[in-house]
């Protein structure tokens, strides 16, 4: 192969060997041709298509300054007109204050043929729901049809896989991040699939650049998928501060900017501002084993910038996850980790802290506390949030020397503006009006297109090999 210098010289010599002689009259002819041609004067600050180089908007540009008055006048007229039109439209179309939903029935809707501790759920564009979790089966997930009350497995093509995270893509497909236990090396590996609801199938899996157990994945606005943190195997030896970006179109992965600190077991949510909120998780590096990560971090996958916005309120519950929920107005509700059993809590009332992130101001603000531990959150059509969880308490409290432990599963309709919460019936006080089956705790929820909510749960103590799926229906508002 010819080296660069020889190549450059050869090209230059080739040009010189054929150097043309410029016609002597070429300028004279041009002068004649332009004698009657007027120059074209730009009309508005040289903002025409012929202007070159392309405009770099700077107040120092004299041509911009020269026309600043015209531009300001035009902008003012446009602003006044737009304000008048939009104002009139808003007054005309102002929606009535939303009527609060009234829960009507809680019905058993179906089940998944595996027991999932905390199912990953995604509402598909066709109204069905993708759900999966840690089960070690050939199916990476299941597709539930809430109308037909049926479920269909999504075969991974591998004997033993688990679903860790799922992200709905703009084109309706779903990126699935899983952990393959059937890897011949027996160490396990993390794989990415893309599920297409139209065919009910996944494509060939793509191995992540690094093994990532307990990582968090989220779809970002540029159409790619961001995968953050995790640990390099199920043996918690090293937490990762690295990230990867997956392009579902090309099925290519590339390294993203690093996190400020290792994080595993956390959750991530893309904000309307294009950044990603990272919350919770643990650091398992040897000198920090078991340290819960309480920083609420705002991460920019494009610039690599990161900012700690604040902290979760609880610090003692390592294994439980906080919750993130995007509200209809773009704000994000951040719910603290589930706390462990507080047997002496009064009738299981151990308020959980909550905060609100506003993507416009990029700030956190306090939100009213929630009465009990929360395992699942979902936004309702009336602006409230359905929360679900469980608690334990001594029926008579510690002071009375009570011995009877009461398990309290609960549902609540929480208003993030006021904190007012309509609760399910408390088994000790018998207060509360929401329907609930006391033997069926819930750990995940998804709102369907008709406004009703599918609730997922399982009893980890009784060896059941299925996950129950119940449907909470409403009347009023847009829920049914």
């Amino acid at each position: 192969m010819t080296d660069d210098l020889v190549f450059d010289r050869a090209i230059l010599e080739a040009f010189h060997a054929t150097a043309p002689t410029t016609p002597s009259d070429i300028v004279d002819r041009a002068l004649t041709r332009t004698a009657d041609v007027p120059q074209r004067r730009p009309r508005l600050g040289r903002l025409d298509a012929r202007a070159w180089p392309p405009a770099r908007w700077s107040i120092g540009d004299p041509s911009i300054r020269r026309n600043a008055r015209l531009l300001l006048l035009a902008a003012a007229i446009a602003l006044v007109t737009a304000t008048a039109v939009v104002g009139a439209k808003l007054l005309q179309d102002r929606p009535p204050t939303p009527r609060l939903l009234q829960p009507t029935t809680l019905v058993q809707s179906g089940s998944l043929p595996a027991q999932f501790d905390a199912p990953v759920t995604v509402l598909l564009g066709d109204g069905r729901v993708l759900a999966g979790g840690y089960a070690g089966l050939p199916a990476i997930a299941y597709v539930l049809d809430p109308v037909a009350h049926s479920e269909q497995p999504i075969d991974s093509g591998l004997p033993t896989v688990n679903l860790e995270s799922a992200a709905l893509l703009p084109d309706g497909r779903v990126a699935l991040l899983g952990w393959d236990q059937s890897d011949p090396s027996a160490e396990g590996r993390s794989l990415l699939w893309v599920f297409d609801p139209r065919t009910n199938r996944v494509g060939e899996p793509v191995p992540t650049l690094e093994k990532r157990f307990d990582a968090a994945m989220v779809a970002v606005p540029d159409g790619r998928v961001l995968i953050t943190g995790g640990i390099e195997s199920q043996d918690p030896s090293r937490a990762l501060a690295t990230t990867e970006l997956f392009d579902p179109t090309t099925r290519m992965l590339k390294s993203g900017p690093p996190l400020t600190a290792p994080r595993t077991g956390h959750i991530a949510l893309a904000t309307t501002a294009g950044t990603v909120l990272l919350v919770g998780g643990n650091d398992v590096t040897p000198d920090k084993v078991g340290r819960p990560i309480n920083e609420i971090e705002l991460f920019d996958h494009v610039t690599g910038g990161s900012e700690v916005l604040g902290h979760l309120g609880t610090t003692n519950a390592i294994r439980s996850h906080p919750r993130l929920l995007a509200l209809a107005d773009g704000r994000v509700l951040i719910v603290d980790r589930q706390i462990g059993p507080q047997l002496c809590g009064r009738h299981g009332i151990d308020p959980i802290g909550a905060q609100m992130f506003d993507p416009t101001t990029q700030k956190l603000s306090p939100a009213p506390p929630i009465p009990h531990s929360v395992a699942a959150v979902v936004a309702l059509t009336d602006g409230r949030v359905l929360v679900a969880g469980s608690w334990q308490a001594l029926r008579d409290g510690c002071a009375a020397g009570g011995q009877e432990i009461v398990n309290g599963n609960w549902l609540g309709l929480y208003d993030p503006a006021t904190g007012a919460t309509v609760e399910s019936t408390n088994p000790i006080t018998h207060d509360g009006a929401l329907p609930i089956d006391p033997l069926r705790p819930y750990s995940a929820a998804v709102r369907l297109a008709d406004g009703s909510v599918l609730l997922f749960g399982s009893d980890l103590t009784n060896g059941d090999q299925f996950t129950w799926v119940d449907q909470l229906r409403f009347e009023g508002g847009s829920g049914k």
């Binding site: 040009f15 016609p23 300028v27 041009a30 002068l31 007027p38 120059q39 730009p42």
Partner: protein, 183 residues
């Protein structure tokens, strides 16, 4: 280029324009000819570019970028000319001219001819990138501005053109072949 000369021409000074045109004509013609590989087309393209230079000088935002702007004018005029009068261009080259010359001179001539063939076989868009890069010595960012295409497009065109030209050079370095047998 004298900035004040450009600014005077921008305000309609025809003497200033004439001096700019005379100072730029040879450079513009060389670029046009190497892209078009045809004197008539190069002449037409430079004429067109010189007329546009006069007419659109007031639209040049930065007088210090005059030289780059002239590359833009002549390259675009040349490419438009080639598209307007699209016809097959045949490069005449006799095999005898290559193999009958002895020693290094023959090898150099063969290499040059291989390169001429390769340059002629490039598309005008690819050839424009090669000319602006290797003959005019413009950086890729400036070529992108001159051609009005993204930087990645320039890099891609240069990559493909370079690959073709390198193949031509490599072929030129191999022994010439007569009647299927090495010479």
């Amino acid at each position: 280029m004298d900035r004040s000369l450009v600014e005077r021409a921008q305000h309609g000074d025809r003497d200033a324009y004439e001096r700019l045109a005379r100072a730029s004509a040879e450079r513009m013609y060389t670029v046009a000819y190497q892209i078009a590989r045809d004197h008539d087309r190069a002449d037409d393209a430079v004429q067109q570019a010189l007329v546009e230079m006069w007419r659109d000088l007031p639209s040049l935002r930065d007088a210090d970028r005059f030289e780059a702007w002239t590359y833009r004018l002549v390259t675009r005029a040349c490419l438009q000319e080639l598209r307007r009068r699209r016809r097959v261009q045949v490069v005449e080259l006799s095999p005898d001219d290559v193999i009958e010359q002895p020693g290094d001179f023959a090898a150099d001539a063969a290499l040059r001819d291989q390169l001429q063939h390769a340059l002629a076989s490039l598309t005008p868009d690819h050839r424009a990138v090669v000319v602006l890069r290797h003959l005019s010595g413009l950086p890729l960012e400036e070529i992108a501005e001159v051609l009005g295409v993204p930087l990645g497009t320039v890099a891609s065109r240069l990559h493909h053109a370079t690959r073709s030209l390198r193949a031509a050079i490599d072929a030129g370095e191999r022994p010439a072949v007569i009647g299927g047998q090495p010479a």
